[in-house]
Amino acid sequence: MSATGTCDYQAKDYKSDLKPIWCPGCGDYSVVQGIYRALAAIGRPPHEIAFVSGIGCSSRIPGYTTAYGFNSVHGRSLPIAQGIKLANPDLLVLAAGGDGDGFSIGGGHIAHLIRRNMDITYIVMDNQIYGLTKGQLSPTSQKGRVTCTSRYGSLEEPVNPLLYTLAYGAGFVAQASPTDLAGMASIIEEAIRYPGFAFVNIQSPCVTYGEEAQQIKGLKAIQETLASLGHNPADRLAAMDLAQHYGEKLHLGVFYRNPEPPPTYGDLVKERQALLSKDALPKERILDLFIKK
């Protein structure tokens, strides 16, 4: 089936033979299931999907899918995903990683993908800790959090990923959690279908270094769907207002979906190429540009 068509794919068709080596009970197990289901709902064949990640526990995720995958460099999943999307615009491009990968070392990249409206879905598995390196403070760790790098409690306010992306003008911002797998799959599907940069923050508990309040039971106690609050996802200011409760409440659903998505960077590039190609030299005369006659 072509890139624009759909096939009857099942979630299992996106599951690779590689066995996840996350700690038993890790929230990322449910995230990968949510991604399988979302991809099955989209129906694109695995060879038409590129999945890029950075470094960290959650960044192992592309390997557990049958899509083309690149477990790349710490914090650099987004620039690499951007390059892939521009080189082959027909690919469905996903990027994923943890909160440290996305909002610390890679934090500077998000703004640029947002302002370009790159047609990429970025999934952050936010566990508020650096798990792979054994439990150091991460950019979303709560103030006062005791870890091996903050023995007397963190002095820093956490980054708020939802406000961060909304403030830069992301056209699609949502939050999900393993406490609602079907909801998570549907949010990821919606994010993929959004024509532009889509950000999904997933509260994915770290069972080994995470705090009790951040485990499934703790999340269930504070979760509320945005739909149940009557939130209108077209209202960006209301989304920003709700996003301020990050860390206190767990709001699940779409915070903001731009009702009139601007053109993607890929669209603009295509348009520019079409415009300039009228006066462009044929390929065999390209060197004429550099050789004085």
């Binding site: 066995k19 996840p20 870890t147 091996c148 079907a182 069972v207």
Partner: protein, 174 residues
């Protein structure tokens, strides 16, 4: 325990059977995931128990499917997996590295109790007599499953009284 927003009032017997099958499918799948996690982390005793649960859930699912086919043939299903979540399947974080068989069985016991609460909570909202009878049967089966797991638990040697926290190192600077 809530009823996950399902409107049981107008539920037909076929839909109820299909939901029950999906509940078993989900539990079978989750226990399968847990068994694979335990294998991956070299915890064979817990993996064996979770595989035993996979077989139980699969068996129960097959029995329900046979009843569904006998009564309704291959009529298209109106309910989907998206309508249920974690009814009989243990929560994702119920698995732990290096679980003992006791911990694995306790996780399963909690899940059976959760499923019992689900069917019990659904009963007052059911209008159809046949659906009510099915849900009462399913609720009671969950009690029977709890007994089975408790019996397995009773076979285990006495608990040492130690908890996971007794084996955790204090955070150390890297």
């Amino acid at each position: 325990m809530n009823t996950q927003g399902i409107n049981f009032f107008n539920l037909s017997l076929m839909d109820a059977l299909d939901l029950a099958i999906l509940v078993e499918d989900e539990a079978e799948e989750r226990y399968g995931e847990f068994a694979a996690q335990m294998d991956q982390h070299r915890t064979p005793d817990a993996a064996t128990f979770f595989r035993y649960m996979v077989e139980n859930e699969a068996k129960h699912g097959r029995e329900l499917l046979a009843r569904r086919v006998q009564r309704f043939g291959d009529a298209p299903r109106n309910v989907t997996r998206a309508m249920i979540f974690d009814v009989e399947a243990p929560d994702y974080d119920a698995a732990r590295a290096f679980m003992s068989p006791r911990q694995a069985m306790e996780a399963a016991l909690l899940s059976e109790m959760k499923a019992h609460a689900f069917f019990a909570a659904a009963l007052p909202g059911i209008k159809d007599d046949e659906v009510r009878a099915l849900f009462e049967e399913l609720r009671d089966e969950e009690l029977a499953h709890q007994k089975l797991v408790r019996a397995e638990l009773a076979k285990l040697p006495k608990d040492s009284g130690l908890s996971d926290d007794d084996f955790v190192d204090e955070p150390a600077a890297q």
